[in-house]
């Protein structure tokens, strides 16, 4: 006879973030046909069909599909060559509902050579250049910025010209102040600066903003771009937090796998964890432990713990 706490356990095991395989197996493994039937009658995942049987609610099956696939997706992404990984992430972002965030994330947080590698991989995987696909698919004000970001091959040395930093910081400031009337990403000078200048140069510009209390921590495309370029650990920590909140949609949740898998071996994982702790008062590992289930959770935690 199935017990009500077993019903709860089973429902919980496939309602959260990732599936709790152990729980599922231990409950379902014992149940007889009648137990399962009782479960169907009581569970919110099933409805009474007018043909007198309890059927799965379709969107729960879809939900389950996503949750079961999380580990597979994480493992496949993890074992992929970083170039193929980034190329596929960007392709998905281009083809899917306009998820510019991912394009900005990949284009801005990778080194010049890594981004170049991704562009090469894109050629061989999809028979197009990423520039042409983005330019073709994006028809709105985001086009120039996105094509520019994805085509950038930034100087990676540390040399920075202070006078130019100052004058360009002024230009960006003016654009930000004018943001109500004109989106900064439609300003030619903003696009020029943000898509061609080196990261040290942009970080120096960013310092000027902090001086005038502009934190650029909003949700606008311009803010996201500057965050990715200048303070990636802050950006990643925000994205991770959003993915772990209750009620997050699929696009937001999928970021958990993406960020952890793509940054796990990079130097910034440590900084991301520190920033997360600073911003949210709890360690990333603990949060994941609380919110995520099963083998998927274990995989993520192992990835985060590397290098400790």
């Amino acid at each position: 006879m199935a017990l009500s706490h077993e019903f709860q356990a089973l429902t919980k095991s496939f309602s959260g973030f990732g599936v709790d395989e152990k729980s599922m197996i231990s409950v379902l493994g014992k149940w007889h046909k009648d137990d399962i039937k009782s479960y169907r009658k009581e569970s919110p995942h099933f409805v009474q069909d007018d043909r007198l049987f309890e059927k799965w609610v379709d969107h729960h099956v879809d939900f389950l599909k996503h949750e079961f696939l999380r580990l597979k997706n994480a493992v496949v992404l993890w074992t992929m060559h970083p170039w193929e990984r980034d190329a596929r992430l960007m392709k998905e972002a281009i083809d899917g509902p306009q998820a510019y965030g991912v394009i900005i994330e990949v284009a801005c947080t990778r080194s010049s050579e890594e981004l170049l590698g991704a562009r090469r991989a894109y050629h061989s995987l999809f028979d197009h250049s990423i520039e042409e696909d983005i330019a073709y698919r994006v028809n709105d004000s985001h086009r120039k910025l996105l094509v520019g970001l994805v085509s950038s091959y930034r100087y990676e040395g540390t040399k920075v010209h202070e006078e130019i930093v100052k004058s360009e910081a002024k230009i960006l400031c003016a654009a930000i102040k004018n943001a109500d009337r004109k989106n900064p990403i439609e300003d030619e000078e903003v696009v020029r600066i943000v898509t061609t200048r080196s990261k040290p140069h942009l970080k120096a510009i960013f310092q000027h903003f902090k001086g005038i209390n502009e934190n650029l921590d909003g949700e606008s495309t311009f803010d996201k771009t500057m965050q990715c370029l200048c303070t990636p650990q802050t950006y990643f920590s925000k994205v991770l937090d959003a993915s772990l909140r209750h009620g997050a949609d699929e696009n937001t949740k999928v970021a958990l796998t993406r960020v952890i898998v793509t940054r796990a071996d990079e130097e910034d994982m440590k900084e991301i964890k520190e920033e997360y702790h600073k911003q949210h008062g709890v360690s990333l590992s603990k949060k994941i432990d609380d919110e995520v289930n099963g083998n998927f959770k274990d995989f993520l935690l192992t990835l985060i713990a590397r290098g400790e």
Binding site: D127, E132, V147, S151, Y153, R192
Partner: protein
């Protein structure tokens, strides 16, 4: 094919010493410099620079810059460089030197190379100038010209042969709308909007673009370059035309650049030595053939009659001539 004539056997040390001898005393023995450097390929020149540095503890390029002058100096100092470095230097000079960026040089840099070659030039540029080619082009140009030039040097084009006919057809229409629609009837007016032209020219692969240009002619009854023909003072349209011509047939385009330079049309001397110096080891021979075909006289004859002195001797040497001293 190259026009450069370089011997198989050579001694970098002997060459370095001979060059040093040429610098000594009153004046410079330019003929010796032409004779040696004008007959050495990139690898050999690199070894000579190294040998010169080792023996005389001096940079050969610095020495050349101080001993030579004028067009001759510029040509030799570009020639001595390794080809990738040279392209970076030419691009830098085109951006920084005059008050106006010489867009033709940037277009040559972008369109006469494979995607990988363009990358090596950009890396060399970063190494030499501690900034990226893209940021320097961007900060020295404005408006549509900027968008266009930055886009064409940033792109990493797909290099396969695949083309999509449907896309070529629709983009031929889009180009037609932007070029002809924006002019308010008749030619000669500046383009009103250039977003799509820039997008297409700066992202599509070369085979795809060629297919598009073909469709353009079929649909509009006039080649795309003719549609862009108009006011030569409209620099941006001129740049688009130049880019399209270069995409269609780089050798024919470069031959035209050389011809204009010889006839003092448009920008001056620079282009002649630039094209000869950058192509002497690559495909100058084919370009000479096109030049002869289009102009009724050989490039060698044209150079011989329009230039003078050491500059002329040097160019003719690179063109493969031995007997004019």
């Amino acid at each position: 094919m190259a026009t450069l004539l370089a011997p198989e056997d050579f001694s970098p040390g002997e060459d370095a010493m001979a060059l040093n001898k040429a610098f000594k005393g009153w004046g410079t023995d330019e003929k010796a410099i032409i004779w040696i450097l004008g007959h050495r390929n990139a690898d050999q020149r690199k070894q000579i620079r190294l040998a010169y540095q080792q023996i005389y503890l001096e940079d050969l390029i610095k020495k050349l810059k101080s001993e030579l002058s004028g067009d001759f100096k510029r040509a030799v100092c570009h020639w001595i460089l390794d080809p990738v470095e040279r392209e970076a230097v030419l691009a830098y000079e085109a951006i920084i030197k005059n008050y106006r960026t010489d867009y033709r040089v940037i277009l040559e840099t972008a369109f006469t190379k494979s995607a990988e070659e363009l990358l090596t030039v950009k890396r060399s540029y970063q190494f030499l100038y501690k900034s990226s080619l893209e940021e320097d082009v961007a900060s020295h140009t404005a408006g549509d010209m900027r968008k266009f030039l930055v886009a064409v040097v940033s792109v990493y084009r797909y290099e396969g042969e695949e083309i999509k006919e449907g896309v070529a057809h629709s983009e031929a229409n889009i180009l037609g709308d932007e070029i002809q629609g924006g002019r308010g009837g008749g030619g000669g007016g500046a383009l009103k909007g250039a977003e799509e032209i820039i997008r297409i020219l700066s992202t599509r692969s070369r085979p795809q673009l060629l297919a598009t240009f073909n469709y353009y002619k079929q649909i509009h009854g006039i080649s795309i370059t003719k549609s862009l023909d108009g006011n030569p003072a409209d620099e941006f349209s001129e740049a688009l035309r130049a880019a399209i011509q270069c995409i269609k047939n780089p050798k024919r385009y470069l031959q035209k650049v050389v011809r204009n330079s010889i006839n003092r049309v448009g920008t001056g001397e620079d282009a002649l030595s630039r094209v000869i110096v950058t192509h002497a080891e690559k495909d100058l021979k084919e370009m000479k053939d096109v030049y002869l075909q289009k102009n009724g006289r050989s490039l060698d004859d044209a150079v011989a009659s329009e230039t003078a002195g050491n500059y002329k001797a040097f160019l003719l040497t690179l063109l493969g001539n031995q007997d004019y001293f």
